[in-house]
Symmetry: C2
Subunit: 327 residues, 2 copies
């Protein structure tokens, strides 16, 4: 069935029927605005992300449901990085007129499924025809108790540097996809269907263990750079401490230069955070559900800059950092 | 100067420098999320809109600054339609790589200028390369005291039907632009640089004068249809009561069929609302700054449906309603 048969309002009605509600949502999909009741003592967190076909994703690599899931996860990851919990999402969708209703339904299924997994609801959106590629915009609202907000600012010299999960899998999968290959399913999933680390972010915030936090979307060193800039500090990263999956290690054995993907590849959606040394045992205890938490370095005074060192403490060259959409 | 010279992060830094802050914004542009402090007793309003090049606008018709202004106004209009006041905006921007920095700066100027006019701040966003057209997503957050929320639901038989401003100017300007003409500046401005009726919406909410409200974006009859569906009522619209500008009346004299543009043209961004008859004098008194408030009909029981009548009360045929992106 073509989208023209149900039209814009037909599609909205289908999504509206399936969207869940929650206690704080006074008014969801179907009016000029959604209306929700803020919780007393909690800050409102908001972040917006774009996913553009052939820039952020290719339709050939991902079924629509998985694309819907990823659209939610990358956005929710920003709330996790502040120590917050997602509450509601708003979806802007620009789609070519010829798209099948089945594909759109599957996309919406993925969005709603991921929302439910994160305990959030889809509360509004806008659907339009695109004369070009798929354009997806997702805006998440989350909450965090006022005293628990974690920003990029707050890392202090002496703090330990930690990262969740494994680095580089997503970039390695992307590299194989770009080369026309078919990455191993576990690797592909890390790129096409990442998880936002909401539970870990909340635990760090509730227990007051982190001094600064960011999610790794632009690449480890680029995102660490954001913490260093905001906190006005330097850092030393231990190359051999980077948490790598066995699939990534296998690839690395064959091609050592691939380590750059773990350092600068991006789209890991892991949490990178700093924490005082006396909290190390409490932080390590947060590893759960196969998501390790690994110390990868230490915060230094600003004048030391950003150092990458090998197992013997010798400086290694830094790869080109992260991704800029226009450079 | 080309965007590639300053890059994505250079552009964000330029916007961040110029964005204003406000008391409730704990954290604006520059972290993973914006963080703001909700006001006790107020509901949070949220709406998201897409503006896609060659679907919603053409670059040849509008300078970038005016496009930035319109992107804000159409989104803020949704908050006005709930009786609320806008607080913060989030901008997603997909732009072709070859765009000049001067054009992007002018676009950001327009966004920031319109935000300031509405008493709102730009609090976050995402900027990416688009392989196709300009793709703009705007999400607004606003506030309304809990008892003052105005929805599409609440119109009752016997209520009077009112609309602000003048209808059809925007659609008439668009028609002339599509035909390759140059509409009169006052007419063009109504399409390219519309105003959100925030002050009027707030006044209606504060004084408790409206029972249901919507903004006219899809066309008068289509948006009235949304009120009728949500409120489960019918309505009678008096054709000769529609508020028309002198420019529109001139065009209408030459071509009577143009009246359809006032009934179904869309993008008026006026407020359409219902109000009990005993409030009529108070509503009429809200006309201000050249924005009239005009009674154009009355709410009927649902079984009467939607009637358009002439000066003698005779039914007139209804034009095709509104715009569907896919039908």
């Amino acid at each position: 069935m073509k989208l023209a048969e149900i039209g814009e309002f037909g599609f909205i009605a289908r999504v509206r029927q399936r969207a869940e509600s929650c206690a704080d949502l006074v008014l969801g999909i179907g009016d000029d605005c959604a209306a929700s009741r803020p919780a007393p003592g909690e800050l409102l967190l908001t972040s917006t992300d774009l996913l553009i076909e052939d820039v952020h994703f290719r339709r050939a690599w991902s079924d629509p449901r998985t694309l819907g899931r990823k659209s939610v996860s990358v956005n929710v990851s920003d709330v996790a990085a502040m120590g917050g919990k997602p509450a509601s999402l708003y979806l802007g969708l620009g789609i070519p007129g010829g798209v099948a209703v089945e594909d759109l339904d599957a996309f919406a299924d993925g969005v709603l499924e991921a929302c439910a997994e994160y305990g959030a609801v889809l509360a509004g959106g806008d659907t339009c025809r695109s004369p070009g590629p798929w354009f997806i915009s997702v805006t998440v609202q989350g909450r965090v108790p006022e005293g628990e907000l974690l920003t990029r600012q707050g890392a202090r010299p002496g703090d330990l540097l930690w990262v969740s999960g494994r680095l580089g899998d997503s970039a390695l999968a992307l590299r194989e996809l770009l080369a026309g290959g078919r990455p191993a399913p576990a690797l592909a999933a890390r790129h096409l269907d990442p998880s936002a680390r909401v539970a870990l972010g909340r635990a760090l915030a509730v227990q007051g263990l982190a001094t600064a936090m960011i999610d790794v979307s632009d690449g480890l060193l680029a995102d660490l750079g954001h913490i260093l800039d905001s906190s006005v500090v330097g850092a030393r990263v231990e190359r051999d401490a980077l948490p790598l999956s066995s699939l990534f290690r296998d690839a690395l054995t064959a091609e050592p230069a691939l380590l750059d993907l773990a350092l600068a590849g991006g789209e890991d959606y892991e949490l990178l955070f700093t924490s005082p040394p006396q909290c190390a045992a409490a932080v390590a205890a947060l590893a759960a559900d196969g998501v390790p938490v690994t110390q990868i370095g230490r915060i230094l005074p600003q004048e030391d800059g950003l150092l990458l060192v090998d197992a013997l403490g010798r400086p290694c060259p830094l790869p080109r950092r992260g991704f800029d959409h226009f450079s």
